[in-house]
Amino acid sequence: AMAGVGGGNDFQWCFSQVKGAIDEDVAEADIISTVEFNYSGELLATGDKGGRVVIFQREQESKNRPLSRGEYNVYSTFQSHEPEFDYLKSLEIEEKINKIRWLPQQNAAHFLLSTNDKTIKLWKISERDKRAEGYNLKDEDGRLRDPFRITTLRVPVLMPMDLMVEASPRRIFANAHTYHINSISVNSDHETYLSADDLRINLWHLEITDRSFNIVDIKPANMEELTEVITAAECHPHQCNVFVYSSSKGTIRLCDMRAAALCDRHSKFFEEPEDPSSRSFFSEIISSISDVKFSHSGRYMMTRDYLSVKVWDLNMENRPVETYQVHEYLRSKLCSLYENDCIFDKFECCWNGSDSAIMTGSYNNFFRMFDRNTRRDITLEASRENSKPRAMLKPRKVCTGGKRKKDEISVDSLDFNKKILHTAWHPKENVIAVAATNNLYIFQDKIN
């Protein structure tokens, strides 16, 4: 159990809901590839390998339906990206949604950015609960009326109708990335956003689709000299001129867009010196950062590499202020994990609303939470077995050697096909969303 958001209380995570098919046979297209709460936490979006976006909306708690207790139900589903074919290079562009990022809400409609490997789209999700009736030029089923038959003029009136949620693509930002887009991030100015691929980062204006500014370019003149790629990028939550990007060599660069038009030269360079005693052939691969996230406060950032999560103080470049081991027991298995490609898995990480806790996924459908204040950590599992409504989750433990205690699971029994790569934490409450392959689990703190 961990200190709660309010401080002092322990979390008691309980199962709330699970979305998705129960089938053992998972369709590739249904595999969830990104999960994101919006700014208020009212909406929860998921993207999948099939290019679809599903948005869940939280039910208003009401006396009429006390049991629903803030449940998330499907609000809108739409096909964001379709598979494309690049005829020039003769290759198929996957429709898999790599990232979804919400825009802050400015009116009744909701906006989000979704991206696949090459193209970013701005979607407007709006509700329609009224319909205009009594048009002059067309009749009720939409057929045009014969203008000569119109003898009177009337004002159409708005009539209520069943709620309909529509998603429409408002902008398509295409043809700006040669390599695969790994990140998008909305700027705090709410007007611009950045998109990053393996070698470049571009800055866009949300209104302008036919051009973007390239702000980072690490492509060497000779590709054979390439030894490092960009793995993630994010805008600072408050300073609209600041962003960071992480690399495959475990470094993070913080850039200031005021300093130069091209931010190839960083303002700050974060790297932890390597521990020579733990060096192996896999040191570089496991140091590759798979995710970087600023804290809500903007004072810290968190990075996820293969075995650990690190919290960095933006004012200290030479080492992280906190390091949390996610699954250190895998260190002795790196060669096997290299062979079966698991070492290349890209785990994400997230902060809770108050920045007091962080969460990240692991294998065997385990996910881990760390309390930054108490330094306590917990391992939980997303599984159908623990899916009774409001059932409290039992902490899990991996046995690393010696005698396996009851309820512990040995490292060799872990299912490496069940990986939790994507998790999200409600911005204000203790509600978390965990993507387990094709299922989305929602857990809530009992106190909620």
């Binding site: 590709m223 054979e224 030894t227 052939f281």
Partner: protein, 254 residues
């Protein structure tokens, strides 16, 4: 770069014999090459993945290079097998951390022999390795996803008698005979072996078990031959969408 004699530290938890380290090196090399080749066969391999795998291959190469340049082959081993035990016990007394170079041992007999190391051996060895690497290049360039590249016959590399695929440590005398056989160009063993020989086999075979008893167990290659030749031909990282390795003079990896 790994310091001479410090190889063990690459696998901190592993305090076993050098053969464990070698087999790990071999595994990493095998797996990396396999992945590299498979990725090259894809129309659009992931750039991140390619970079990480290529960097791993370069690391292996760098380790091999360090050891190749740090260890000389002792000719006594193939000319005077009887002296093996004596030599080995001498080598065995080298404490960890010392250079594996035989020159620094101060064992009197050895120095002269080292001086007398015939240069033709160097050349033929280098040529053979070049041949293998060119084949690897060519296979990759082929872009048809062959998992095992064809090999040119080795002129004088082979020193493992019998089953060339065996990765087990053989006894010293056994090894010595093998050395002699290979240097004399015994091709009957080679053709079988060569069908499947890959650079990793090469590295493993060239060597090492000769110094098995040495505490600080040793490099994959007991011969002294220009490491440049070897390292030069490991495949460079190439643009994902165009496999364009130039066998003639591949720009290389530093």
């Amino acid at each position: 770069m790994v310091a001479r004699g410090m190889k063990r530290k690459l696998y901190g938890s592993d305090n076993g014999g050098g053969s464990v380290w070698e087999s790990q090196l071999q595994s990493v090399l095998d797996i990396s090459l396999d992945k590299f080749q498979r990725d090259q066969a894809l129309v659009e391999p992931s750039l991140l993945r390619s970079v990480l795998i290529t960097n791993t291959l370069r690391q292996v190469q760098s380790v091999v290079k360090t050891h190749l340049s740090g260890v000389s082959f002792h000719p006594k081993l193939h000319t005077q097998p009887k002296k093996q035990p004596e030599l080995l016990s001498t080598l065995g007394s080298i404490p960890a951390g010392h250079s594996a170079s035989l020159c620094s041992l101060g064992v009197e007999d050895m120095e002269d022999d080292l001086m007398a190391w015939p240069s033709e051996e160097d050349l033929s060895l280098a040529t053979a390795i070049t041949g293998i690497l060119n084949d690897l290049d060519a296979a990759l360039d082929d872009d048809c996803g062959l998992s095992v590249p064809q090999r040119l016959p080795l002129a004088s590399m082979e020193n493992l008698p019998g089953d060339g695929r065996s990765k087990q440590n053989s006894t010293i005398s056994h090894k010595t005979d093998g050395c002699r056989a290979s240097i004399l160009g015994n091709s009957s063993h080679m053709s079988n072996y060569l069908q499947e020989a890959v650079i990793d086999d090469l590295l493993l075979d060239i060597d090492t078990n000769v110094f098995e008893a040495e505490a600080n167990s040793v490099s994959p290659c007991a011969f002294s031959f220009p490491a440049d030749q070897l390292v030069k031909y490991l495949p460079p990282f190439s643009n994902s969408s165009a496999v364009s390795l130039t066998p003639a003079s591949p720009p290389m990896v530093r």
